[in-house]
Symmetry: C2
Subunit: 388 residues, 2 copies
């Protein structure tokens, strides 16, 4: 490949990396693309976390499908930034290491090869190219370790003329990583804020904060099993916690009444759907537009007996039909001042019974498909609750 072609290839890879905003996919892609570029059979990607390196991805064509498991086991394990490992040495010094055979590193060298992985997995590491992932300020955000360059089934040394190109690529990868991390952080903060404020809006109600967290994750699971795209699932996760913000406008005497509501009081209570839609309405944002729909219609029922408009079937936005199942399931399985929590089988029975009447049968089906995930979510937030 001539130098011009290499540049185009390099830019192409850089662009593909820069566009990937899903952090896990990005990490995988960075390692895969740099391996392809250098012809490496295997490789490891480490990310810097303060004064440590953390295993992020391991790829090894010789080990095949075992790699995923190895990655899972090693993921999150730490390596100190010091000469005790080669990656640690690169992270400490910012230098590139290009070694013909790691088992031939001389004693007294500034860095050391640790043969533990080879022994355990029955692999033979030989040539290695290890480069730092630097940002524009020269900060080292991670380390790329490329193992065993191959040519016609022979392990050969890494081409030293490619070192600088790999370093460039690693730096582009570093920025992509930084951007993906920033986006992830932004989204986490966004969701955390939605939860806090939605809980605030439900503070006067009997609900605990865990309700909005649980029901939003349940809704996301149902959406996923209905075949929604990743982005649509995420939007439901963000939009659904706000479904009851309209309750804010319901007077204490109704919202906190211990007994049954009178007809007039219930009419007042129903308005929380309309008020919620008003608070969330007229936004340019997809998430808020969706939250408006959900707030307005999450009490509609398939048979037209719901409120505020008595919409039927497909007239009700699908996302509101999803949230209806998630919301009711959580209400059934949670304690309320007027009832203990129902056991899951009892709650499932009620949900199934109401399929076609209260609930959209497709949503109930998707809910049942995702039941295992839903019970995991329930368990997780139960534990969080108990920890308090």
């Amino acid at each position: 490949m001539d130098i011009q072609k290499q540049i185009y290839k390099l830019t192409e890879i850089g662009i593909a990396l820069a566009e990937e905003r899903n952090l896990d996919k990005l990490l995988d892609k960075i390692l895969r693309e740099t391996r392809l570029f250098t012809g490496a059979e295997a490789g490891t990607l480490y990310i810097r976390d303060k004064d440590h390196l953390v295993f992020a991805v391991i790829q090894n064509d010789a080990l095949g499908s075992r790699c995923q498991k190895i990655t899972q086991n090693l993921r999150g394990q730490q390596l100190s930034i010091s000469s005790s490992s080669m990656a640690g040495y690169v992270a400490r010094t910012g230098r590139i290491l290009n070694i013909e055979d790691v088992y031939q590193i001389k004693e007294g060298s500034e860095y050391h090869f640790n043969p533990e992985f080879d022994k355990k997995e029955g692999y033979r590491s030989q040539s290695m190219l290890i480069v730092p992932m630097k940002d524009a300020q020269g900060n080292i955000l991670g380390v790329l370790q490329l193992i065993n360059a191959k040519k016609e089934n022979e392990v050969i040394p890494f081409d030293s003329s490619k070192e600088m190109l790999v370093l460039s690529l690693a730096s582009q990868a570093a920025i992509a990583l930084k951007n993906a991390q920033l986006t992830k952080k932004l989204k986490e903060v966004y969701l955390d804020t939605i939860y806090r404020l939605s809980i605030a809006a439900e503070y006067r109600d009997s609900d605990t904060g865990a309700h909005v967290r649980r029901m939003s994750h349940y809704s996301a699971v149902i959406a996923k099993h209905l075949g929604f795209s990743e982005e649509e699932v995420e939007n439901i996760l963000y939009a659904s916690p706000m479904h009851d913000v309209g309750k804010i406008a319901i007077p204490d005497r109704i919202l906190q009444k211990p007994g049954k509501l009178t007809k007039e009081e219930f009419e007042e209570m129903k308005k929380h759907t309309l008020i919620g839609a008003e608070i969330l309405g007229n936004s340019d944002s997809k998430v808020l537009q969706l939250s408006e729909k959900i707030a307005l219609s999450h009490h509609e029922k398939m048979d037209g007996s719901g409120y505020p408009y008595g919409l039927k079937g497909e007239q009700i936005p699908l996302e509101a039909r999803i949230v209806a199942v998630a919301d009711v399931f959580d209400a059934l399985t949670s304690p309320r001042c007027y009832k203990p929590p129902f056991p899951v089988p009892k709650a499932l029975e009620i949900i199934k019974e109401e399929s076609g009447a209260h609930f959209d049968p497709r949503c109930v089906e998707a809910f049942l498909k995702g039941l295992e995930e839903i019970l995991e979510i329930k368990k997780k937030y139960q534990e969080l609750e108990n920890e308090k």
Copy 2:
């Protein structure tokens, strides 16, 4: 410059671009860096908005400081994606145009040069290199128009061997642009959501939604004039709208009482600071940590006469001291059920009088420095209010 050096330069520029997340700065940087790379005296950057190109930045060393004004005037103006302009032709076809002299373009050519700008500004465009900004999928996100390559004060044609490098750079710029736009969008959605939910939390109160919007922008202005960094100012903008979420837990009979509160009722009312801090507390997010501080301490006073803890001076977090000024100024200049809005001079008088007693003198000073901006914000949201 040899090809190796050019590659490094290219990657360096790409990385610098990818790191810039402020959209305005990024656009400026993209044009500046590509001009430097090609030796162009002038240039224009267009961004695609659906089926149009929109002027984003104009740079022209020959026109000097007039450029900023020209950019301001042209900014947002549209160009159709068609052969009626050269940039439009490039956006339509995705081709690179490298023209020695735009006044020599033959009649019957597929694209046309529009001499209007030259006439108006007394400039002579001659050589031009126009490249599309493509993402990894080949979508055209913008067009870079580089004008008059210079060598020793002579206009020369653009070096055709550099075309592909400039195209690479333009593509890297395209991704950086996409990322910056996405981040901007995410932040806008975040802020919009905070406003909606904070308004919800204050729904039972007499406040209109515009209060949280105004006071958060006032707080940001004060922070800016205190020398806070851009990020810190942004954090205050996001955190301050949530200052009163704790009011959610205050019963209707106190929150909505028309007359003066009894001592016991006021003690109850004061708890909104503690409850707000509880709702927002224990988060990993900087914005929420800041909002917790502000919720807790925005009713403290410099002389120790505030609540909930009667903190004095520097004991009160600076951000809470900022919000205190912004919050009170907005309350003074807004109508309440028990008072008409005070005119601005009267409100300023009160704020100044309370400097050192209620308010931190440094915050009052910063507030007065930013008064012009603050009154603009006030006017803007006044108008939004009236439109409803």
